[in-house]
């Protein structure tokens, strides 16, 4: 019996955990993913979702996210493992853009399906804190004076430390 099979047995009868972990290299509509993800989890009590978008603050005209193929997607799979181990989850979707994007475009979309609302909400909170400052992405912003690399803010590290 594999680890995956064991995990499935904690869920309600017949339910396999749903995982949808992707890097997207072009603009996407979160609704086109959240709807099918919700339908893939019959018997759920609720779905929590967070969609992050590029803010037009501080004169940002574009944002670029770089990743490192040998680490980034594998790290997101480990993050999903941690969320399934920590919360009572039926399904988890982690979508993250890479490449150049513009203000108003989605960067990240996390959805969690659970029988209980607080497990769903907390899973999204947990996954976002880790994607923000503990996943293999490098972000730079374009302003009038050129490109600037962005490091996590202190509040991002404090948010992450809540889960230790």
């Amino acid at each position: 019996m594999t680890a995956t099979k064991l995990r499935c047995c904690r869920l309600s009868a017949g339910a396999e955990p749903v995982r949808d972990i992707r890097l997207l290299d072009a603009p996407f509509a979160p609704g086109a993913y959240v709807g099918p993800f919700t339908n893939a989890n019959p018997g759920l009590g609720g779905v929590a979702t967070f969609v992050g978008e590029v803010r037009p603050d501080d004169g940002v005209t574009a944002l670029e996210l770089l990743h490192y193929a040998p680490l980034t997607l594998a790290g997101m799979e480990v993050l999903a493992d941690q969320a399934f181990a920590r919360f009572d989850l039926m399904g988890l979707m982690l979508l993250h853009r890479v490449g150049v994007m513009y203000p108003g475009e989605p960067i990240v979309c996390v959805s969690a399906a659970s029988r209980h609302r607080r497990d769903a909400i907390q899973s999204v909170d947990f996954a976002m804190d880790h994607l923000k400052s503990d996943a293999w992405f490098w972000k730079r912003e374009q302003r009038a004076d050129g490109w600037h690399w962005i490091e996590p803010r202190d509040t991002d590290h404090a948010d992450l430390a809540r889960w230790n």
């Binding site: 770089l66 490192y68 040998p70 680490l71 990240v108 400052s133 996943a135 490098w138």
Partner: protein, 80 residues
């Protein structure tokens, strides 16, 4: 064919290119010697990590790479 160095994030700016070939075998002291100026300073910072063929090193001084290996230099991350 040597070892391929991959510079991520701002390290690519410091290196002037996202990748560089370097002679094999490569250990920590050889890497420190090969990278000078701001790039060398960044390499020695606690915030910069190393991965060999997609596996993160828990200690950078343990670096050892052979012909055909890929060594990634990873500055602090920032996503979502």
């Amino acid at each position: 064919m040597g070892v391929k160095l991959v510079f991520l994030g701002k390290l690519a700016d410091l290196a002037g290119a996202p990748e560089r070939e370097i002679e094999a075998p490569l250990d920590w002291s050889a890497l420190v010697e090969a990278l000078e100026g701001p790039l060398g300073d960044a390499l020695e910072s606690d915030k910069v990590k190393l991965a060999v063929n997609g596996t993160l090193l828990s200690e950078k001084a343990a670096l050892f790479a052979n012909d055909g290996d890929e060594v990634a230099l990873l500055p602090p991350v920032s996503g979502g």
